[in-house]
Symmetry: C2
Subunit: 388 residues, 2 copies
């Protein structure tokens, strides 16, 4: 069976792009992903858009057709994949299947979100809730995503003795990585004290335990190894692409300190890639909240339950340490334009595995894992990439 690979990858800076429509953000990464391979957008025969809520954020649906129009890609098969906050990586998986099926030669995945058209924070919060939570039994009952992650943080602290400072260390580490990434939204460093003393969003989580809104786009060109070789010497292999679920409703889970869908997707991914967690060199995980990263690292089997907080505090997850996590800066510092973020996680792994990650380069990275989640875990997607 022929290898499926990523032959090109790029992203915009994640920030407030007040001057750009969603179509411009998408078109920018289509150009920056195809041009280095001397491909024209017209050569691309499949375009998969990962976008979480363009209909609500920007009053524009059918992004596939719109973005095809802007790039004259009338022969491409273009559609949008939505899976809440996991939309970006879910789109990667759909594109992977289009190549693996032999139906298409080149599948371009574009993760894109234009968020700053929605200026009011309460409206933004309610959109994120409606799209990722059970609207009827959670959002309409008054729950917010922040309040649920706050409960999960408390449960984790109680069950495992995880300390508040350990949770805050996630933000400190991801901002440090962001300071090394020219495309990151936030390049300032943070201290544990700064995180703890910032405004409380939902106790115990503060403002700096959360992500800010950002606009942005990221893209990957997925193809077969033989097609890639005609275009470039630089590509990475997609070894695994898996997706799984837990109950969307947090109240239906067995406990609050775990996210079963991450474990389920990860187990399938390790089996598909035929690797064990200890072989992974570089990791991008979902850090919509600091506690999310800690739970993710444990569900992925990279740390035992209850040990990821301590490991983070001990700097084991820095880019130059034993298990580099979110070397891009993560959603926290690189920025979090929902649908674009999952694709950007794979852009980071692509750069790391090709030794093109600059100041934050992980030494001898050969195997990378990316994980994204929707809401508190209704959907989880995992990808494992490797050098060839």
């Amino acid at each position: 069976m022929e290898k499926i690979v990523i032959a090109s990858a790029s992203m915009t800076k994640f920030t407030d792009h007040y001057d750009k429509d969603i179509r411009h953000l998408a078109s920018e990464v289509i150009a920056s992903t195809t041009l280095p391979l001397n491909l024209s957008p017209k050569d691309i025969d499949a375009l998969v858009i990962g976008s979480m809520a363009s209909q609500l954020f920007t009053r524009q649906g059918n992004l596939g057709a719109l973005i095809a129009q802007e790039n004259y890609m009338y022969n491409a098969s273009a559609f949008t994949v939505e899976a809440g906050e996991a939309s970006g990586q879910a789109a990667v998986r759909a594109a992977y299947s289009l190549i693996k099926s032999g139906m298409h030669d080149y599948a371009l995945v574009v993760g894109v979100e234009k968020v700053t058209d929605v200026l009011k924070l309460p409206k933004l919060q309610s959109i994120v809730g409606y799209v990722n939570m059970d609207s009827r039994y959670e959002v309409d009952m008054g729950l917010t995503l922040a309040s649920m992650y706050a409960m999960m943080a408390k449960a984790h602290m109680k069950k495992f003795g995880t300390k508040r400072e350990q949770i805050a260390s996630v933000a400190v580490k991801n901002h440090f990585h962001g300071s090394l990434n020219p495309l990151a939204q936030y390049r300032n460093k943070l201290s544990v004290e700064k995180v703890l003393s910032s405004e409380i969003v939902a106790s115990p989580l503060t403002l700096f335990d959360t992500c800010a809104a950002a606009d942005g786009a990221a893209a990957l060109l997925i193809t077969t190894e033989s097609k890639a070789k005609e275009l470039t010497d630089e590509y990475v292999e997609i070894k695994a692409s898996t997706l799984a679920h837990s109950p969307v409703r947090l109240a239906d889970r067995e406990n609050l300190y775990s996210i079963p869908s991450i474990k389920l997707a990860a187990e399938k991914a390790y089996e598909m890639a035929n690797v064990t967690p200890d072989k992974i060199d570089v990791v991008e995980v979902h850090d919509s909240y600091t506690i999310t990263e800690i739970i993710a690292l444990e569900e992925l089997g990279l740390f035992k339950r209850g040990e990821a907080g301590k490991a983070t505090e001990e700097k084991q997850t820095y880019f130059n340490s034993s298990i580099p996590v979110n070397t891009s800066g993560g959603m926290k510092a690189r920025g979090y334009p929902f649908g674009a973020a999952g694709v950007a996680q794979l852009v980071e792994l692509y750069l790391q595995l090709l030794s093109k990650a600059g100041d934050r380069q992980v030494k001898d990275a050969e195997l990378g894992l990316a994980q994204a989640v929707a809401g508190t875990g209704g959907t989880s997607v995992v990808h494992i990439l490797s050098t060839v």
Copy 2:
């Protein structure tokens, strides 16, 4: 290469389901599609949702996870595909690729839309516009989908001498077919006079040239022939699955009497299935407006340009005539719950090809074609099915 088949298919009645949430509509067709094969939803490893605007209509995103939750399908890979009004058939195509790639054994496609939560017609119209048109350059400029199809009807009449009565004949024929379909929203017959004398929506189109809003769901189980054989003797083959685009903006087209994306998708489909248009026995086309069906029949090569109106008036497209079109009643009479409708088109072909279409059965139907479009043609999807 193994055949990819539809091993089961079902739909709800398309109507106002005021008593049902979107999750209930979806769960109903999951049960009615899996139970006849003695499968449990838990046996299904991929769930592709086709939904046009659940975030806007029902304030609920990530339907994949929500519907997986309601049916305990935690191991399934579930996500939503959106391509405007073509979402249903675009979801079928994504599911087809999941099976063809070998990544999954059983892919369940669920097309679902809950529209009646949005009670006000102007709001419904603006949602349909935002999702299918170019929001910035069409909707925000004051255009509506109805006004654009009215211009297309006028252009067709001027270019080919198509008569107003011929266009109205589409509604008459589809209501006749609806009268034979127990699951159709409208089972009353119409006359040309009734269509012409009803309220003008956008001249020359009247109320009965358009579709009404409806709730509903439809589902297909897609698998390989060998897997299907383990479950049932009754299945049909997917011979072709194609998708193409025209400019979303009507103003960017060469003329107003054609929809290039339909022709593009159809040509690819005939090539993929290795058939010619004259071999097709039964057809389901997009008839969001009466004129849409006439243009679609011409773009599909089933009639020469300018001849579909006359053929419709001459009853050539009735279920017991030479080229049966929209035997289900079409969007006009069977009903049009956006994302569900494209899937329901394939449900109709499945029934026709297995000789299970009751009073509207087409004699000796062996090859069927379904076509759906988003807006005025930004996206078109075509499927060709055959008996095995």
